[in-house]
């Protein structure tokens, strides 16, 4: 079970709370977690990754165990802390200030 924490606007869009849990088969990677997230919540397709290129949208970042995974290859396996559910996979939007 993998816990995914979404930014506020995506929680609203997906009709979910602060985090969602996903079952990911095989070796969990950045790509497979995002695939599972979009399969479970299809309304999120295109909001985290581009519809066509599947590139991360520029104003979003991925954090794993307090490390920035935004620029790692999509097939990078996630650590045990995340695949066990002990730590969440964080999707964070850039801060907009005044």
């Amino acid at each position: 079970m993998i816990r995914v924490v979404l930014p506020q606007h995506l929680r609203t869009l997906a009709h979910v709370g602060s985090e969602v849990t996903l079952e990911v088969g095989g070796t969990a990677t950045l790509r497979s977690v995002l695939d599972a997230l979009e399969n479970s919540y299809p309304m999120l397709r295109g909001t985290i990754r581009d519809h066509v290129t599947l590139q991360r949208r520029p104003f979003l970042r991925f954090f794993v165990c307090q490390e920035d995974w935004s620029h790692l290859p999509a097939d990078t396996p996630l650590p045990k802390e995340v695949t066990s559910g002990a730590e969440p996979f964080l999707i964070i939007g850039a801060i907009a200030g005044g």
């Binding site: 930014p7 606007h9 299809p42 999120l44 295109g46 581009d50 519809h51």
Partner: protein, 394 residues
Amino acid sequence: MSKVRVLVGTKKGAFILSADGKRDKWSVSGPHFAGWEIYHVKGSPVNPDRIYASQTSGWFGQIIQRSDDGGKTWHQPGTPAGQAPAPGGRPVAESNKFVYDVSGPDGKPLTTHQWYDGTQHPWEFKRVWHLEPSLTDADTVYAGIEDAALFRSTDGAQNWHELSGLRGHGTGPRWQPGAGGMCLHTIILDPSDPLRIYIAISAAGAFRTDNGGKTWKPINRGLHSQFLPDPNAEIGHCVHHVAMHKARPKTLFMQKHWDVMRSDDAGDNWREISGNLPTDFGFVIDVHAHEPETVYVVPIKSDGEHFPLEGKLRVYRSRSGGNEWEPLTKGLPQSDCYVNVLRDAMAVDSLDSCGVYFGTTGGQVYGSADAGNTWAPIVHDLPSVLSVEVQTLP
């Protein structure tokens, strides 16, 4: 008694303002999609309970929303109202997917347009500026997008396909973005000819199809833009908005970057009708619901100073199809007002006494129930208004 429903898109959500035919007491619902930019909200003329909305964000991209109950509840098309789809459910987010057709009629890829510096730049989808529901089918709706292209859905906005003949007719590489981006912001469906569509792009100009979108031609003869190397060029004019009266579909009124223009031959030729306007820069333009020669604009000081002249918010009305304009000020602020009125932020209702509505970047939505003679704010303090549409309901 008839009712009106004003659909307001703002920088931070959508609002629906409702009133009976007197239009003196209003109820406000919203914000819908709080925190998101709502570029446009428009109802189907076939089924007024069917409303489409463009919800967009620099963070999360484009979302298309649809209501089937007059704006009470919303859903991404394909998803039951108010519910998340079950795992393994249909890929509803196809409704958010706008993918350019890269093969033009001649088989060549349509990959570039002109960038601000004159170099060629690839087309990149950014957002939906305008949604135009079909006049005859509630499930058919057109979308004008940035970077400029026209899309159509025939299944209630679940899936979108580009009408690529527009970008493919040959002038695409000469189109360039205006300061607000290279947006297709105006879509006008001809009520007398289902195959004729007008669109306008900043900064490319106006275009028309007479065969349902297969082929297009520029309709910019008579436009004069001093910022262009050739001020009379076929392409490159910054058209801000175009309006038409449904009883005279060959007569078009245009607010260009500078200049208010008119065509009486379906856009083939334009002539200036700025007349005695104090400035002919502006964004909105609209036509009275029952008087095809009564036109409204909101003059803005200049392209460098996007606010009303002298701090006075004035709608100007011409009852002669242009050239002779009168200021309408009663009920509008006449001092220290420095808001803007954006291109899609004016609309008219079709009650016997025509109502006129517009929204400002200061968050006010003003309404007039007497064709502009007197005005009153419906709301004062919304987020910056991006668009205003109105539905006249039985």
